[in-house]
């Protein structure tokens, strides 16, 4: 049987409109979209509650407590203080978990599952090129992740600021979890989780391993950024003599130790200071004349946040490039040159 003599002309082919892939990516990931929107709404509500009524109640309780001035009996609203601390810890943890949550989801579903089940190939067998497919799979979730994480992080920063100076046990800006959860760095890390998930999915093409590897890889990059963070902006050095004692521990520490008479830096033996005779002897033997401490003061908050965000974004860019390279090596990409499509 030979299929010849077409009785109907082939469909007219104009310079075609772009395939509408976006709505289908949204449709196919509707459950994840609902979870994300729900998470952002709940977390935002919790942070508004924290920054408003909970902070006010806790601040009032602290006023009551401080008014007692150490009296043996003091009536103050202790539950309000505890509630503030608990909600603060829980919301901070939730914000910090977002990058890993995004990595797990992206690793498990976004590319790996489609390649595993063959639905990616189904899409490419329509008029959608693999490059367009990957671009949509990156751009659409990235927009939603940045918007959601950005909102939550901003609200966390506001909630934390509201308690500053009013709640005695409010976290310092340099507290690691507070520093991360209240700045753009966490938004960049969430984006990183997404891109890691997409790349790992392209490489492993199996949903479950890709989930695990994505979370582990995101943790690894997180650790790299965290390690590099103190060195991303020039630190400030504080010097004290032996009589004054070691400098206080404010800000983000970079390095600390003892100074010799020649100005050399030595590690601190942490023997307790000049008040202890043994320690005094140790210091004398080391020719120690004082202490030094390299650290970042509060003024370095935004420079550190922005530099670390920029570093994370640079890593994201490299990973995106790698994702396109992997896809191209697998599918052959679309060579340049005149398209022969009529």
């Amino acid at each position: 049987m030979t299929a010849v003599a077409p009785t109907a002309p082939p469909a007219t082919r104009h310079p075609s409109p772009a395939p509408r892939l976006t709505r289908w990516v949204l449709r196919l990931h509707r459950p994840a979209l609902c979870v994300w929107v729900g998470l952002v709404v709940v977390l935002s509500a919790a942070l508004l509650w924290l920054g408003g009524p909970l902070t006010d109640a806790s601040a009032a309780a602290w006023e009551q407590y401080n008014a007692c001035a150490g009296a043996s009996k003091c009536a103050y609203d202790q539950p309000a203080i505890i509630r503030y601390k608990e909600v603060y810890s829980a919301t901070t943890f939730a914000v910090l978990a977002l990058p890993f949550l995004v990595a797990a989801w992206a690793g498990a579903t976004l590319t790996s599952r489609e390649l595993e089940t063959g639905t990616a190939q189904l899409t490419w067998a329509q008029s959608v090129s693999p490059v367009r497919w990957l671009t949509t799979k990156l751009a659409l979730p990235a927009t939603l992740v940045v918007a959601g994480a950005g909102l939550v992080v901003a609200l966390h920063h506001l909630a934390w600021s509201a308690g500053k100076g009013r709640i005695d046990t409010a976290k310092s800006w340099s507290d690691v979890s507070t520093f991360y959860s209240g700045g753009p760095l966490t938004v960049a890390l969430a984006l990183l989780g997404l891109v890691v998930g997409v790349l790992v999915g392209l490489l492993w093409r199996r949903s479950l391993p890709a989930l695990g590897i994505s979370v582990v890889a995101t943790t690894g990059v997180f650790a790299i950024v965290h390690t590099a963070l103190p060195y991303l902006w020039p630190s400030v050095t504080q010097v004290r003599n032996r009589v004054q004692g070691a400098p206080s521990g404010a800000g983000i520490a970079v390095d600390e130790g003892i100074l010799t008479s020649t100005g050399a830096r030595l590690p601190n033996p942490y023997c307790g200071g000049d008040v202890f005779p043994d320690c005094r002897a140790t210091y004398d033997k080391l020719d120690a004349v004082g202490y030094y401490r390299d650290f970042h003061p509060l003024a370095h908050y935004w420079p550190l946040q922005l530099m670390a965000t920029a570093l994370t974004c640079a890593i994201v860019a490299v990973l995106i490039f790698a994702a396109y390279r992997v896809l191209k090596s697998r599918t052959g990409g679309t060579p340049r040159g005149a398209s022969t499509t009529e």
């Binding site: 049987m1 030979t2 082919r13 772009a18 892939l21 052959g332």
Partner: protein
């Protein structure tokens, strides 16, 4: 037949994970406007070949040209249905077809989509995850056909269907293809199924082309012959040279052989009917048989070849000679 739908030159694909070549050194042309069968045992490289032609994977060596261009450039003009018929399980059939319309904005034929999908009495509001194998195949074919492709690549399209559904779907497929002049390349390892619907054959085994050409021409240049196992005069084993022997089997005093005659056959040999299945099986059983590609040049002679093949039951040596001469087989060293 004026042009090639698919043209491969030295095409090869190696998979690192599977540790070896799935396809190697394949050079062939598949004609446009025809229905070509891609045949080979499991693991022969059929799926790899179709995925390469559909632009879903990149070749490791060589090149493939589809509809005169790079597969990635002609994506909107190719339809492809892969062996496991992947579909989004969470969508309904109607949503799947709607997606097809959105992803093929310049060539979607909604009527064809619904006609093919709903053909088996399928409710369009059913979720894909609850479809049977046959219904899935129907939806996958609907997606591919409604794109109204110039070239349709089908990997084992009806392998998992019962005979009735298979017959019905093949009918739908062929009717739609005939209506729009679609070129079809279809893989299968069920040869009997292809014999009715295909007119061109590409047989691959161990990742290489073993046999290629118009089915009628291929049948015409081969003869299944029976004769005495030993020469009457000398008692020596019968030597079939100069004819190319694909396969010979001795049963008692008789030998049955599939040969590509190079001239008149020896007196006393009887020619039997040759089916496509027997031809393919003989080549699969004997990997050492030299590959044969009947070139595009033979196409013009295909009519006369078919004609002489059809009356070759009389096994006249002259018609055999004429056939092999007109079909111009290009044998390659094994």
């Amino acid at each position: 037949m004026t042009s090639s739908a698919i043209e491969a030159t030295g095409l090869g694909k190696a998979f690192r994970r599977r540790g070896g070549w799935a396809l190697r050194d394949c050079t062939f042309q598949l004609p446009a406007g025809r229905v070509s069968a891609l045949v080979g045992p499991n693991g022969a490289g059929k799926s790899t070949l179709l995925a390469l032609a559909a632009g879903l994977i990149a070749p490791s060596e060589g090149s493939v040209t589809v509809l005169g261009g790079h597969p990635a450039h002609v994506r909107p003009r190719i339809g492809f249905v892969s062996q496991d018929k992947p579909l989004y399980a969470q969508l309904t059939v109607a949503e799947t077809l709607h997606m097809g319309a959105d992803l093929n904005p310049d060539s979607w034929d909604a009527d064809t989509a619904e006609r093919v999908a709903a053909g088996g009495g399928l409710d369009l509001e059913t979720r894909v995850r609850s479809l049977s194998g046959g219904q899935r195949t129907r939806v996958a074919l609907a997606l591919a056909l409604a794109k109204r492709p110039e070239l349709l690549l089908l990997d084992e399209p009806v392998a998992d269907l019962d005979p009735l559904a298979r017959h019905e779907l093949m009918g739908t497929l062929m009717a739609t293809a005939a209506r729009y002049g679609t070129t079809i390349v279809m893989s299968s390892h069920v040869i009997a199924e292809l014999e009715d619907s295909c007119d061109h054959l590409l047989l691959i085994g161990d990742g290489r082309v073993r046999l290629a050409g118009d089915i009628d021409d291929l049948l015409a240049v081969h003869s299944l012959i029976t004769g005495p196992a030993r020469e009457a005069a000398t008692g020596a084993d019968f030597d079939l040279a100069p004819h190319t022997t694909v396969e010979s089997r001795i049963t008692g005093r008789q030998v049955t052989a599939l040969v590509r005659p190079a001239g008149p056959l020896p007196v006393g040999w009887q020619t039997n009917d040759l089916s496509l299945e027997a031809l393919v099986l003989a080549h699969l059983r004997n990997p050492a048989a030299p590959p044969l590609t009947l070139g595009q040049a033979s196409a013009s002679a295909s009519d006369s070849a078919s004609a002489s093949a059809s009356d070759s039951t009389s096994a006249s040596p002259t018609s055999q000679e004429a056939t092999s001469a007109s079909a111009m087989p290009q044998e390659e060293p094994a």
